[in-house]
């Protein structure tokens, strides 16, 4: 778990294309939310997922908006809009940074789908190590 967190933090340090992640999200914390994927916005400069979800720490089910990287980056990392849209209506878990304003808004670091498949952002250095 520690390894995963360290890895995600490293990724976040270099993973943006539009604004600094720290301008919107609290990169000192992580939250995990689980729920139903309801909508995928495959737009620039960041994609958005929408879910009906609740945090792993408890609470009620709410509408969540999750922000990710730019479509061009996903496309060249072998992730497409279809990767997500084919899972609309399914349950998934997203680990990421919470919004500084404490709203139901999250920066996506890792997604775990109901079938056990997953995807997470990793640093270039860690990607090189994995080869």
């Amino acid at each position: 778990m520690k390894y995963t967190i360290a890895l995600c933090l490293l990724a976040a340090a270099s993973l943006w294309a539009h604004h600094s992640v720290t301008a919107v999200f609290d990169t000192g914390k992580q939250i995990s939310i689980t729920g139903e994927l309801t909508e995928v916005e495959w737009v620039n400069p960041h994609i958005f997922l929408h879910m009906k979800a609740k945090p792993s720490t408890g609470g009620e089910v709410k509408a969540w908006k999750i922000e990710g990287g730019p479509p061009a980056w996903y496309r060249r990392s072998n992730v497409t809009k279809t990767t997500f849209t084919k899972r609309i209506g399914q349950s998934l878990t997203i680990d990421g940074y919470p919004a500084k304003d404490a709203s139901s808004y999250q920066w996506m670091l890792k997604v775990t789908f109901a079938d056990g498949d997953s995807m997470e952002s990793i640093s270039a250095a860690d990607a090189a190590k994995s080869k």
């Binding site: 490293l10 990724a11 340090a13 270099s14 993973l15 943006w16 294309a17 539009h18 604004h19 600094s20 720290t22 301008a23 919107v24 916005e41 495959w42 737009v43 620039n44 400069p45 960041h46 958005f48 922000e67 990287g69 730019p70 479509p71 061009a72 980056w73 996903y74 496309r75 060249r76 990392s77 072998n78 992730v79 919004a99 500084k100 304003d101 808004y105 056990g116 498949d117 997953s118 995807m119 997470e120 952002s121 990793i122 640093s123 270039a124 860690d126 990607a127 090189a128 994995s130 080869k131």
Partner: protein, 256 residues
Amino acid sequence: MNYRILSAMLAMGGLALTAQQAKRPDFSGIWQYSVATAGGGIKQVVGGKALVAVPDQSGRAAAKGGVTGALPSDNAPSYKPELLAKVKEADANQTQADNTFACGKPGVPRLGPPRKIVQSANELLFFYEDMSGDQYRVVPFAAKHREDVDPSFNGDSIARWEGDTLVVEATNFVTDTWFGEYGYIHSDAMKVTERFWKQSENMAYQVIVDDPKMLAKPWVQAARVIRPSDDLLQETPVCVEDDAHRLTNKDHHLQR
């Protein structure tokens, strides 16, 4: 002069020109996506199998170790002293003052090298995939710029050859773009020169920005090396900025 002889001479002249053109480097083709997106890559686990992909962004940055044929470069433009404070202020307020943050067109030269080039004897067609939307430029081999067009984001471009180097010169820009993400404002006098030359199968690309109203000297950017690509162009998803109202500080961002 005998018409047949004249025709033969013209034909020979045409052949000679064609042969000369044939010697020119051909930049036609698809080139590596060279717009900054994000660092690192993505690890997927699909059916229990781990797959790691990291986008090649080498075309975005200055080539390491220099590039043969490149002009000496500077890390940053040299603004006239009276403009330094204005540039600094623009830089500090980038997320508010830079139109590309809100899906605006970056304009030349922030648009970067073309993703696809179609080269003919008379003109070049440049195609781009940009977060602000798909763009193109039609660049004739011509001696003079057009005088019948309004200022634009990408300017009016003409091309020429300097030996085996393709030189594209653009002028007539709107003034609400920046030529770099660090508050690099410019005037209506900006001229952008892009130099293309072959490095084996790769395309070397170097930009020179001149603005006699604002710069103390032309800014020669470091050369980049753009690799050929089999990544076919795709329509760029629409740009919808939805973060400006959430920003809690003015932290810098990476925006071409």
